[in-house]
Symmetry: C2
Subunit: 323 residues, 2 copies
Amino acid sequence: MHILVTGGAGFLGQQLIKRLLAQGQVQVDDSAAQGITAITALDVVAGALADPRLSNEVGDLSQPGLVASLLRKDTRLVVHLAAVVSGSAEADFDLGMRVNLDGTRALLEACRALGTQPRVVFTSSIAVFGGDMPAVVTDITPPTPQGSYGIQKLIGEHLVQDFSRKGFIDGRSVRVPTVVVRPGKPNGAASGFASGIIREPLAGIEAVLPVSPETVMWLASPAAVIGMLMHTIELSAQAWGWHRSINLPGLSATMQEELDALRVVGGEAAVKLVKYAPDEKVMRLVNTWAGRFDTSRALAMGYRADADVLSIVQGYAREYAQG
Amino acid sequence: MHILVTGGAGFLGQQLIKRLLAQGQVQVDDSAAQGITAITALDVVAGALADPRLSNEVGDLSQPGLVASLLRKDTRLVVHLAAVVSGSAEADFDLGMRVNLDGTRALLEACRALGTQPRVVFTSSIAVFGGDMPAVVTDITPPTPQGSYGIQKLIGEHLVQDFSRKGFIDGRSVRVPTVVVRPGKPNGAASGFASGIIREPLAGIEAVLPVSPETVMWLASPAAVIGMLMHTIELSAQAWGWHRSINLPGLSATMQEELDALRVVGGEAAVKLVKYAPDEKVMRLVNTWAGRFDTSRALAMGYRADADVLSIVQGYAREYAQG
């Protein structure tokens, strides 16, 4: 079978592809696991991974005909990670609409045109929640996105829902928690500081905390997210039933708790590198996000979150910050 | 001021334009009512109304550049009624996507391009609700559309919401109950029978009831809907606040209650013209719709529904069925 991963050169994309290649097979229907013969990674830059089974394609998702040209008769799985992130989608409305909405739609139409009802995993976001919310967001809390990114992700979910109902695809949308700790350079996500305040100090670099230390966020480690994406890929259509969107499990943590974990792992010197510099604009946006969830449905479907914040920071230090 | 009404040749469009022309002025900002100097009615067929202030344009909403060409510097209000209705959007997925999604987006982009933040009224539908719902749908019940029409309307609401938040338009979306009694010919709406079982018998013609007489629907008369649309047009942006979608008040009524009202107005002979012929396909769709609502928010904002089913049927008989 062939797999398409959009956003395949991004951090999660590369991790997921690595995992799929290592595993060599995956179960996308109710019969049995199938061998992975080919993976196409599509992104606006070329991915760094090299493998005879992997082809790295560079292009814009919303470019007419592009996705269709990358799909094959034996494409059984599409993992749609590509997106213009929250800060960027808010700063450039048209860019967000083109990639997040038109791109997602083009992808779904190309999958539909295959006529084989491929499995499609869409990474939505907890940014679909915001504003006046209950203290704890549950599986039936109505999404009320406060930014263009959340709106575009929610529209993507609706399309996945209807394309699945119509039998065009076997779709599932997962609302991913804020990923902490992202390695590498900051991206345009407004939530980037949640990774930055761990990553930079562990590399001996100053970092800025633009929100109050009491700010609560809903977090998951890269390893937990990859695990949950693999679970999403392999869950049967029956396990989903009608409703194809789900809030993924995570951890509720304050930025102070992150700093406390940083102290354990990197010492007081690391914590001293974090400068508290409140940014009204960032705070206004982040404070509209949900920080506490009851993800009963996902837990019942077998999804699992991280144990605690310390293990997230320790995991990052082990893998990326051995310096 | 100039007003654009999409779907302007349709039943509600014509009623609304008649009302606006008769009134001669309307209040679309916080200063005072302004004179209506011009109205453009856009539809796929020409409207029948004639007035020196009215121009009837024929065209497809999703045609590139069309809506932009119809907007003017003094366009202060756009009422977006045009849509591919539920049955048709389900039967022809691409048509529904093109008109209901692409058309709505083209309209919003054209309004944004004006740079004057025009007021935009979008008629959404109670078809955004469906499936596993509480017994009574409230203002915080999450929309879970069961058909492509409801999905497309909901996506339109999200766009109106975000375009309003960004300050591109002053938008508001109203979820309109099933309109009963629609005069004229049946349209492609799956809910058409709710009008047909009154309209046809009062004209001496047989009608089919394809669902159980116990089926509960959420109804409003054309007069009530026009009144609520006028109210939507004139409500201040402050009255709306952040959330730009609302469930409109209506009446919960069974089809049996409609038949009872028909008996009062048209006698037993009229009721005898209604043939009960259960249609599994229609029933399956209609039974996923919400029939009972608590519309506290709309009532607090000054919206008003009809008094009862009998007055709806009597109103129709008075206006359209004097034969």
